[in-house]
């Protein structure tokens, strides 16, 4: 039972990160109908920027802020400079360009920082508190939950309570109708990419210190887990991405804990295949969101 509790909390902590990353994928999918395969590489690039600032100043939090702001800027730049000019007549075009971005970003990062794993700093201890002799949560886990929870709450408020959020949703559902209403559709798209990249950066900041460390490919495996989470929840569903992230985190934790860490990546891929075969629209995509503007 102790082991089960530990694995559950560990899985939820990891799942929260996958949820954030899946949310980033969903944000871009809803806005542009593109699965941004470059999300992981973009996140790593901003975490490297934060790492450089932390190393130069000694301040983890300054590096943290730089990484998040860097995500906003990088996301906006990728949309404005690259994705806006992609011919979207075939969905494959965006995917191919995103994969090209992965190669470019990872190559450039390798040239600048080398291809060795660098130790990524954390702001909080990862030693778990013991409750009744059972190791449950660490300060770092609480930081992860709080960060991801804050992002989910802020994004929910943005999309449901603000005119900008309403315009972003309108632009995603029916760009031409939105234009007629004065919505700057291009600007909303840029904002969507910027927010998604910033959320991706947060996920990178949270997960990289818990894995092998900072490396140009550090988010590749995380991307697969988060993509599975997004597909599980339904690529159109932000709440589905969050729940999908938590489910994938728990699955990985239980499989790693009971069957061995080497089996875990296979479990994620099996889950992905099962979802794609059984319910390709995901568990939380409703009919009304599939039918876009009439």
């Amino acid at each position: 039972m102790d082991r089960f509790l530990f694995l559950t909390f560990d899985g939820l902590s990891r799942g929260a990160v996958y949820a954030a990353f899946a949310l980033a994928l969903v944000l871009i999918w809803r806005a542009a109908r593109i699965v941004n395969f470059a999300q992981g590489a973009m996140a790593v690039a901003t975490v490297y920027a934060g790492y450089s600032v932390t190393n130069a100043t000694g301040s983890y939090w300054l590096g943290f802020v730089v990484a998040i702001v860097g995500g906003l800027v990088l996301g906006a730049a990728v949309e404005r400079v690259v994705m806006r000019f992609v011919d979207h007549s075939s969905p494959l075009n965006g995917v191919v360009v995103a994969l090209g971005l992965v190669l470019i970003i990872q190559g450039v990062l390798g040239m600048i920082y080398g291809n060795e794993f660098l130790p990524a700093p954390t702001a909080f201890s990862r030693d778990a508190f013991e409750v009744g002799g059972v190791a449950l949560l660490s300060r770092y886990d609480i930081f992860v939950f709080a960060s991801v929870g804050a992002v989910v709450v802020l994004l929910t408020l943005l999309f449901t309570r603000t005119p900008t959020g309403l315009r972003m949703r309108a632009a995603a559902f029916a760009p031409d109708v939105s234009r007629l209403l004065g919505v700057p559709v291009g600007g909303m798209l840029t904002l969507g990419w910027a927010l998604a990249a910033a959320v991706g950066s947060l996920a990178g900041l949270l997960v990289i210190p818990t894995e092998l460390g900072l490396h140009p490919t550090a988010m590749d495996v995380v991307f697969i887990s988060a993509f599975t989470a997004a597909v599980l929840g339904g690529l159109d569903s932000p709440i589905g991405a969050v729940i999908g992230g938590l489910v994938v985190g728990l699955l990985l934790s239980y499989v790693s804990g009971y069957l061995g860490a080497t089996v875990a990546p296979m479990a994620v891929l099996i889950l992905l295949v099962v979802v794609l075969l059984g319910r390709p629209d995901g568990l939380f995509t409703r009919a009304r969101t599939k039918a876009r503007a009439a």
Binding site: P163, L166, R167, R169, A170, A172, F173, A174, D176, V177, S178, R179, L180, L181, G182, V183, P184, V185, A287, R288, T289, A291, R292, A293, A294
Partner: protein, 234 residues
């Protein structure tokens, strides 16, 4: 009292899609406060004309002015110019509630929710505010689109086949709405009773070319119009 320059004026607009001449030297003055109908057979260029005004389609020749000043049509600037347009069909955000659909059309001012609620009330669909458009009957969805256009308090309201798919009672309601809209209206419509009853002036297009312009009585009795369109539509 409006001066001759006021309102929207289209000067010699020509649009080609490849070898197809969609608009052929079309001119039209839309005077403030008037209801101007644009009729013609399918493919006559009515919606293309709307698309040029909205900036969805560029004209190869001709120009437009708004209140005497050159008017460069761009879709996301239309609202700024006080122009609202509905689309054929229902053109809605199916992922947004009815209230959110109308809120998206609020241009400015305080208390946008109150503005949206007033527009819904005006269109008689306040009770559907929290529902999703896809769950509603077609006629209600058409009213949602009208509410969204009206909420911006446009000076020019462009209605593209608003009576399509509506029954007699709904069309009667629409007729009252247009009469009481208290704004300039451009109306593309096939429902001749509605057009003849609400329009002050009517432009008739045939294969992109204007063949007649004038008040309903003149248009109704014009043999060119009867030959090209009304004979078939009647």
């Amino acid at each position: 009292m409006s001066t001759p320059d006021q309102g929207l004026a289209l000067h010699h607009l020509t649009v080609r899609f490849g070898g197809l001449l969609a608009l052929d030297d079309v001119s039209l003055r839309v005077t403030p406060g008037r209801v101007v109908g644009i009729i013609g057979p399918n493919g006559a260029g009515k919606t293309t004309l709307f698309n040029v005004v909205c900036g969805f389609v560029g004209a190869q020749a001709g120009s437009m002015t708004l209140d005497g000043r050159p008017f460069r049509a761009r879709p996301h600037h239309l609202v700024r110019h006080g122009i609202a347009r509905t689309l054929q069909g229902v053109g809605q955000f199916n992922g947004l509630s009815v209230l959110e659909n109308v809120l998206a059309g609020v241009r400015s001012g305080r208390k946008p929710e109150q503005q949206a609620a007033a527009a819904l009330e005006r269109c008689g669909i306040a009770e559907h505010a929290r529902q999703m458009p896809a769950t509603l009957p077609y006629a209600v969805r058409k009213r949602v689109e009208l509410a969204r256009a009206l909420v911006s308090k446009p000076r020019i309201l462009m209605l593209d086949e608003p009576a399509g798919g509506l029954d007699t009672d709904e069309i009667r309601w629409l007729e009252t709405l247009i009469r009481e809209a208290d704004t300039t209206v451009m109306l593309v419509e096939h429902h001749m009773d509605l057009v003849m009853s609400v329009c002050d002036e009517i432009l008739v297009l045939d294969f992109g070319k204007p063949i007649a312009f004038g008040p309903p009585d003149t248009i109704r009795n014009d043999p060119k119009v009867t030959d090209a369109y009304l004979g078939a539509a009647a």
